[in-house]
Symmetry: C2
Subunit: 487 residues, 2 copies
C-alpha cells in the first residue's frame, strides 16, 4: 500500500460508467404513486404480519447481485417481501405503543432532504439547514407554550434529535458535566469525586436506564422512585431519596420527570420535582415524548405546569404531529453547558463562522457528527396544517379515545386503569389477566387492530393508543366490537 | 388535571377535520420533478452559498402560521430561501470533507421508508425491517470481503447506525462493559476498579474523544498515539503506551484503528495494532468510515489487512456508495456482548418473538430505541447498481484523484502531502501557508469548487476529496485551472 500510483499518468477521459442509468423522474413518480396506493388501500391489509422468524430472509438470495437488476424487479419485491413482512404503523387499526404518524407534507420533506443530500453538522456546511432548524424549533416552542428560556433568543435553544432516548442522553451528559465541573475532558467518572445519582420514577422510560448505563454512571446509581396510585412519581419519596443520598455524601444531579409515561400516560408532578431539584442543584429534564404535543391545545397545556423550571425538555413531533420518524424536539435552558459538554473541534472542521461565535453548530448539540436536514419536514408540516390544523388532529384523537373510554367504563366486565383524558386508553378485564390476555389475543389476531400492553401493580393491562393519521370513529367502534366479543 | 373526562359521553361522529387536504400524488410528483431539475441544473449554482449568519432566519416570519398555507407557497420558499442558503453537497465541484453522495435509488428508498413509516425497534414491530437489514449487511460484508466472524451466521452481525460516531460509541460501551464485567448495570465507572484507558492516533476522528467523554471515561484517559511520517499510527508507540498504563495498574481496554483518516486517508497498521490489543485483552475497533468502501474493489482490499482480528468495524455507505445519509454499517464479532451492554427490556416492549431468542431486536444494538427502515435504501442501491456498478464508481473517483495528483506532483510550486492512492488528494504550496490559503480562497470563492483543509505538522494543507455522484474529468480539470491560477 505504500507503493501507490500517486504520480501515475492521468487516465483517458472517462465518466462513471453507469451500467444501469436511473430514470429518477419516472421511478420517482411511480414510487409516489406506490405510496399513495399503499396508504389508500392500507385498511384492507392486516395490521400485523403473520410471518415466522426467518421468513423474510428466506425470500432473499444469499449473495448480493454482481450486476444491476431491473428497477421493476426491485419494486416487485417490495410488494412480495416487504409489505407482507411489516407491521403497518400508518394503518387506522394501529393502536399499539405510541403512534409514529407520517403525514404527506412530512414525507415530501424527507424526500427533499434526501434529494438535497446536505450535511448540517456545522452552520457553514449548510447555513439554511441550521437556521431553519433553530427557527422552526422557536416556532414549535411558541406553539406548545414552552417557556421563553428555551428560545434561541435567550440563553437556550432547540435542536432536532433522532429520538427522546438520544435527547435524554445529551441532557444527562450535560448534567453530569455541570455536576463534575466538566470532568469529561479530564478523568471523567474515573477520577476522585462523590458518586453521582440520577432519579426517575419506576414508570419512566427504559431509555433512561440505558442512557445512565451508556454515560458510565451505572444503573445502580439510577434511583427508581415509587409512584402514586395514578402512576405518577411520588415527590415525597423523591425528596427523601435525594436527601438520603445527599446525607450519605452522594450527589443527586439529574432527575427525569415524565409528562405522559409510556405505560399509562401518567404525568409526574413537575413543580414539586422542580422544588426537589432546586434544593439539590440537580438538572431537571422533562420527557414529554408523546404527550407533550397535546400542549398545542390550550385546554391541555396544564400538562406543562412547572416546566418553566426545567433545564431541558423534549417531545416528539414524530409521534403525534404528523412528522415522520425521526424528529424529536429537544430544548435546553443553557445551551453553553450542552455545547461545552459535547464539543470537540478538530482542524478539519475549523471555519470562520464557527470562530466568529455568531452561529450555531448543531454537531455540538448531539451525539453524532453528521446530521441531515430534518427541519424541512417539520417546517412543511407546520406550514401546511397551521397550528390550528395540528390542534384539530390532537383533539380528534382525544375525542376518539374518550369515546372508547366511555364504553369501557360502562361495561361491568372491564375496568379502566389509571384513566387519563388524552389519547391513551388503558383497561383490563375484571376477571383477571387471562381474560385480559384473551381480549388482546382476539384483537391482535383479527388483523383489524393491534394493541400493546403494560403491567400495573403486576396486572396485565391493555393499551389502546389512538394516533394513526386516518383513524376514525368506525375504527374505534370496530375495536369495541372486538373487545366486547372477547370479554 | 386529576379531574378529567375519562368517562365523558362520546362525541358525535367526526373525522380529523383537515382544513388543508393534501394531494400527495400531485405534490409528490412535483417534488420528484423539483429534485430531478435541481440535480440536473446543479452545476450552474455556486457550490457554496454567500450568506451571512442570520440571513436565512431573516427570510422567515417570526411566528408559526395559525392557519395552513398553500403548498405552492411552501415550495416557492424552498427556491427562495433554502437553495440559496445551502452548500450543494451533490454538486460535481463539491470536493470538501468527505462526500455524502446520494444516488437516485437510495433517495427513493428513503422516500419509501418515510411513506411506510414503520418502526424497527423490535423484530416484532416490523419483521422485514430487521431481517432485510441483517441480510443486506451480510451482503455488504461479502461485497467488502469482511471476515466471516462479522456475518450473522456466526456469533457476530451487522447493523445500520446513523454515523460512525454512534457506531464507535456502541463499540466503546460494549468494550467498557466487557472490561468491567458489565459494571454498567451496577456502579458503572463510579465503582471501585482500575482506570480504563482508550487509544487512538493523533489523526483519528474527533468523534472518538467525544464518545470517550460521553461514556464517562474522561478525555484524559484517551491516549493520542503519535503517528509515523505517513500519518498512520505508530504501533511501537502504542505498545509502549499500553505497557506503561498496564504497569501503572491501569487497564488498556479499547483501541481505534483508522483505515483512512479524515485528514489525509492514512491507514493505521491494523495487524500490529491487533497484536498490541491481544497482549492486553483490549477491544479493537476499526473505523473505516470513508475509505472502507474502496474494498469493494479487490485491488484495494489491502486496506483491510488485519481486520479479521477486529472486535468491531464500521464504514459508511452514506459517504461513498451512493446511499444518502444516514447509513453507517457497523459490524461486531460478538453480538452477545453488545446486546448485553445495551439491552434494557421494559414490560411494554416484551413480546413472544424476543422471548423465543430466535430474532434480533436492533434497539439493543444502538443508542436510540426507535429506528427507521434504512435497509431499504441500501438494498435498492446494491440491487440497482450491482457490486460491479459500485466498484466502477469507486474506480472512477480514484482515477480522477490520480489525474489531479499527477498534475500537482509535476508542479514545482506545489507538493503532495502524505499521498495515498485513493480518492483524496492532499497538497500544499511550497511557498508556505499563506500561499496555500490563497489557493483555498481562490478555489472556494470561485463558486465552481469547494475544498476543505487540514494541518500536517502544523502546516496548512488543502484537501481535494473526489466523490460527488456526477464529478467528471472536466471538473477536476477546471479545479486544476483554478489551483494553477492561484499558486
Amino acid at each position: 500500500m505504500k507503493e501507490h500510483s500517486a504520480t501515475a499518468a492521468p487516465s483517458p477521459e472517462t465518466a462513471f460508467p453507469v451500467s444501469q442509468p436511473f430514470d429518477f423522474r419516472k421511478h420517482g413518480h411511480a414510487m409516489v404513486d406506490w405510496i399513495a396506493d399503499y396508504l389508500e388501500n392500507l385498511e384492507r391489509l392486516p395490521v400485523k404480519p403473520d410471518v415466522a422468524p426467518g421468513w423474510v430472509r428466506a425470500q432473499l438470495p444469499p449473495s448480493p447481485p454482481e450486476h444491476g437488476e431491473p428497477w421493476a424487479a426491485i419494486v416487485a419485491d417490495v410488494d412480495r417481501i416487504i409489505v407482507p413482512g411489516i407491521v403497518h404503523w400508518q394503518h387506522p387499526g394501529f393502536l399499539a405503543y405510541f403512534p409514529a404518524n407520517a403525514g404527506g407534507p412530512s414525507v415530501l420533506g424527507e424526500l427533499l432532504s434526501a434529494g438535497l443530500g446536505v450535511q448540517g453538522m456545522l452552520w457553514s456546511t449548510s447555513p439554511a439547514c441550521t437556521e431553519l432548524e433553530t427557527h422552526v424549533l422557536d416556532w414549535l416552542a411558541e406553539m406548545l407554550g414552552l417557556p421563553h428560556a428555551f428560545l434561541s433568543s435567550s440563553a437556550g435553544g432547540g435542536v432536532i434529535q433522532d429520538t427522546a432516548s438520544s435527547a435524554t442522553l445529551c441532557a444527562l451528559v450535560a448534567a453530569r458535566e455541570r455536576a463534575t465541573g466538566f470532568a469529561g475532558t479530564a478523568a471523567g467518572l474515573q477520577g476522585p469525586g462523590p458518586t453521582l445519582v440520577a432519579y426517575a420514577s419506576t414508570e419512566a422510560h427504559s431509555s433512561i436506564e440505558k442512557d445512565v448505563r451508556i454515560a458510565g454512571l451505572g444503573a445502580g446509581n439510577l434511583r427508581l422512585v415509587p409512584v402514586l396510585a395514578d402512576r405518577s412519581l411520588d415527590p415525597a419519596a423523591l425528596r427523601a431519596m435525594m436527601d438520603e443520598d445527599s446525607a450519605a455524601g452522594r450527589v443527586p444531579f439529574f432527575v427525569v420527570a415524565a409528562v405522559g409515561t409510556t405505560g399509562t400516560h401518567a404525568v409526574d408532578p413537575v413543580p414539586a420535582i422542580a422544588d426537589a431539584c432546586a434544593a439539590h442543584g440537580a438538572w431537571l429534564h422533562v420527557d414529554a415524548a408523546h404527550l407533550g404535543i397535546a400542549a398545542l391545545c390550550p385546554e391541555f397545556r396544564g400538562i406543562h405546569a412547572g416546566i418553566d423550571r426545567a433545564d431541558s425538555y423534549c417531545t416528539n413531533p414524530h409521534k403525534w404531529m404528523l412528522v415522520n420518524f425521526d424528529c424529536d424536539a429537544f430544548w435546553v435552558r443553557d445551551r453553553a453547558t450542552l455545547v461545552r459538554a459535547l464539543s470537540v473541534l478538530p482542524e478539519y472542521l475549523r471555519n470562520h463562522a464557527t470562530e466568529s461565535g455568531a452561529v450555531i453548530d448543531y454537531r455540538d448539540w448531539q451525539v453524532p457528527l453528521g446530521r441531515r436536514f430534518r427541519a424541512l419536514k417539520l417546517w412543511f408540516t407546520i406550514r401546511h396544517h397551521g397550528t390550528e390544523g395540528l390542534r384539530a388532529l390532537v383533539r380528534h384523537h382525544v375525542s376518539l379515545a374518550a369515546r372508547l373510554r366511555h364504553r369501557i367504563a360502562a361495561d361491568p366486565a372491564l375496568e379502566l386503569t389509571c384513566p387519563t383524558p388524552w389519547s391513551l386508553v388503558c383497561f383490563r378485564a375484571r376477571a383477571g389477566d387471562d381474560a385480559t390476555d384473551a381480549i388482546l389475543c382476539r384483537v391482535n389476531q383479527s388483523g383489524r387492530a393491534f394493541l400493546s400492553h403494560t403491567r400495573v401493580d403486576g396486572r396485565l393491562v391493555a393499551r389502546v393508543s389512538v394516533g394513526a393519521p386516518t383513524v376514525a370513529e368506525r375504527h374505534v367502534d370496530a375495536l369495541w366490537d372486538l373487545i366486547r366479543g372477547a370479554r
